[in-house]
């Protein structure tokens, strides 16, 4: 990967981290309603996967969607405006945290019914295959989604029809508060691909370059042959959502994974092996912090949507 791209990848991961920290802050102040599912700890997955996509490739994900939205090119100010329910948000304050989307960025959303976006992804890939396009659909979901019928019907269909879809399982090892071992008959999610004769790979989801390289390779297969299941083993530092008291895991487990922080690992690699200076990376961190501060100010200054706009786009006419 060229130097410029490595640097912007680092910036992006820091940006996501800062955005999530600020979101947590705003949530604790009661300024974000509903539920808030943070991406902290999983940044290397979203950033690594999306860095490997081409602009024509479609991205669809679950409700833990802030990081993926940023990686797809959504501006932090638009994300914050949506979290605060403002008119300047990506869906004018209708969708909120779990439904970020901007089809102009080829980012088809944040979906909050676990697993339900997998058949949608199959259909998106079907449309591209039907039209003879070589675009791929990248569908991201958690380990929890692999226990629901949608996963199995979608994977089966994608294989039967040889659809250009990359299934990306972000295995953060917990479906809400239930560990993958307690919820899934196999805790190595990639094994589930074998039921459908689908190729698969498991990568270290805390290493952004590993995720990037694996995604590139997988996408080549997807464009030529059909579906592929990529499992990225990762860990979320925070609870399932902001309301999660986290009684289901020990502090030292969290601490162990924090040592493998995806941003820390990447920073070390950039410094030790890839010729970056502390100064350059510190400047990127500062840039990210400033962007987040400005984004929050923008969102706070934005107006609420008018109530009558809730009837806009309910139907085409």
């Amino acid at each position: 990967m060229e130097k410029e791209k490595l640097q912007s990848l680092y910036y992006e991961m820091v940006l996501v981290r800062r955005l999530e920290e600020k979101s947590a802050n705003l949530y604790q102040q009661g300024r974000i309603g509903g539920f808030l599912h943070l991406y902290i700890g999983q940044e290397a997955v979203g950033s690594g996967v999306i860095a490997a996509r081409q602009a024509k490739d479609r991205v669809i994900t679950a409700y833990r969607d802030h990081g993926v939205a940023i990686s797809c090119g959504m501006e932090p100010k638009v994300v914050f405006a949506e979290l605060l329910g403002k008119e300047t948000g990506c869906s004018k304050g209708r969708g909120g945290s779990m439904h970020l989307a901007d089809v102009k960025l080829n980012f088809w959303g944040g979906h909050a019914i676990v697993g339900a976006h997998l058949p949608l992804a199959a259909g998106m890939a079907l449309a591209d295959k039907y039209r003879g396009s070589d675009a791929a659909t990248l569908c991201m979901f958690g380990d929890g989604a692999t226990n629901i019928g949608y996963f199995h019907e979608a994977l089966n269909l994608s294989m039967v029809w040889k659809l250009p879809v990359l299934w990306v399982c972000e295995n953060n090892q917990y479906g809400m508060g239930t560990s993958v071992e307690r919820a899934s008959a196999v805790s190595e999610i990639r094994q589930k691909a074998s039921c459908y004769g689908m190729p698969s790979e498991r990568v270290d989801g805390m290493d952004v370059l590993q995720v990037y390289n694996a995604t590139q390779k997988a996408l080549e297969h997807v464009r030529k042959e059909g579906p592929f299941l990529l499992e990225a083993l990762t860990y979320r530092y925070r609870g399932h959502s902001m309301g999660d008291p986290e009684r289901y895991r020990a502090i030292d487990e969290i601490e162990k994974w924090r040592k493998d922080d995806p941003i820390g690992i990447f920073r070390e690699k950039l410094l030790a092996d890839l010729g970056f200076s502390e100064l350059t990376l510190d400047e990127e961190e500062l840039r990210a912090e400033n962007v987040i501060e400005e984004a929050v100010q923008f969102a706070e200054a934005s107006p609420d949507p008018a109530s009558e706009t809730l009837f806009d786009y309910l139907y085409v006419e």
Binding site: R58, C90, S91, K92, R94, G95, H99, A101, D102, V103, K104, W108, G109, H111, I113, A116, L118, P119, L120, A121, A122, G123, M124, A125, L126, A127, D128, Y130, G149, Y150, E153, A154, N156, L157, V160, W161, D312, Y313, L314, Y315, V316
Partner: protein, 334 residues
């Protein structure tokens, strides 16, 4: 004018639309070879004309069918998903009410979901509790959704063509009893029937009978009998699009007659008729000369026993006649 069966009108509508627009394709269970084009023959001849790329057999996998159809529609395709029996709509429910119907709104109008879910519904063929239901009320409470239920071959063809061209998701419910038992006039030349427009199937002055699907024919039969026997004049209104409802046509009729009976095949409780009754009560109660009566299935599931299904479960012309007489009796002499 030429006549054709209800299912032939459905078939012709799809073929014409697939010839017109390459973005239209159909997917469903056994639609290529099963019984020569779907178990009811609705897709007959389509494989031969359009090939396997546009006439797509699916696994028995309703989550995959309903979801992949919606996903392809997000991309601007115009899929027709055949859900073999409308009872299976329950499996598709999440992808319809949480997915397809919300997408335009959630994307702030930047994209839509122009998909048609066609399904055979209704009782009367002894298919019992999982192959006979009328699912419209299950789907009524979903903003963004459109539900169409034609009662004649003419309406079926014109409405299905409009549904395929419609930019939002449409549930298109076809009564399986009508498929090969009802023939009707269908012109050779192309025509469309607008979505969201009710149709007065028989003009009258004494009582409005609102009826849907196969029940339109029971209502027309009741109207004929009551005219002959009692000299009563019934107006039969077919909403055709159940959601969103063409309130004006229904209210105009009610304001004229002052008496209403609503007929549908699903159970009365929580049914489509409850919504219509509420609209009339809210907007035209001062015109009413009696209670709004509903005729529908009793509060039980569809039985296997053919006699019970026909005489006890299903609404009939006789039951409609009784309801009409009750409304008139309550309101005094005409």
């Amino acid at each position: 004018m030429r006549e054709m069966y209800f299912v032939e009108a459905i078939n012709e509508a799809m073929i014409e639309e697939m010839r017109r627009d390459p973005a239209v394709f159909i997917l469903g269970e056994d639609i290529r070879y099963g019984h020569g084009g779907g178990i009811f023959g609705a897709t007959k001849g389509m494989l031969e004309e359009f090939g396997e790329e546009r006439v797509i057999d699916t696994p028995l996998s309703e989550l995959a069918i309903s979801g992949s159809a919606a996903g392809a529609a997000y991309m601007g395709m115009r899929p027709i998903a055949e859900i073999m029996f409308a009872d299976f709509m329950s499996i598709c429910h999440d992808l319809i009410v949480n997915g397809a119907s919300k997408f335009r709104w959630a994307s702030d109008g930047k994209a839509g979901c122009p998909v048609v879910y066609r399904a055979a519904f209704g009782a009367g063929v002894g298919a019992t509790l999982h192959h006979s239901q009328s699912p419209e009320a299950w789907l009524m409470n979903a903003p963004g959704l459109t539900i169409v239920m034609p009662s004649t071959p003419y309406d079926a063809k014109g409405l299905l063509k409009s549904a395929i061209r419609y930019d939002d998701p449409v549930i298109f419910l076809e009564h399986k009893l009508l498929y090969r038992r009802l023939k009707g006039e269908v012109p050779e030349e192309e025509y469309l029937i607008p979505i969201r427009k009710a149709d007065v199937k028989r003009a009258g002055t004494d009582v409005t009978v609102g009826a849907t699907g196969a029940m339109v024919h029971q209502a027309l039969e009741a109207a004929k009998i009551l005219e002959e026997r009692e000299g009563l004049s019934l107006e039969v209104v077919d909403p055709r699009t159940l959601l969103p409802l063409d309130e004006d046509t229904i209210l105009d009729s009610v304001r004229k007659t002052g008496r209403v009976v609503i007929v549908h095949e699903a159970p009365v409780t929580g049914g489509f008729g409850a919504e219509v009754a509420a609209v009339i009560a809210e907007k035209a109660i001062e015109y009413l000369n009696g209670p709004i009566l509903r005729v529908g299935a009793p509060w039980c599931s569809v039985p296997a026993n053919r006699n019970l299904e026909r005489d006890f479960y299903l609404p009939t012309a006789e039951k409609i006649i009784q309801a009409v007489k009750d409304v008139i009796r309550y309101g005094g002499e005409l």
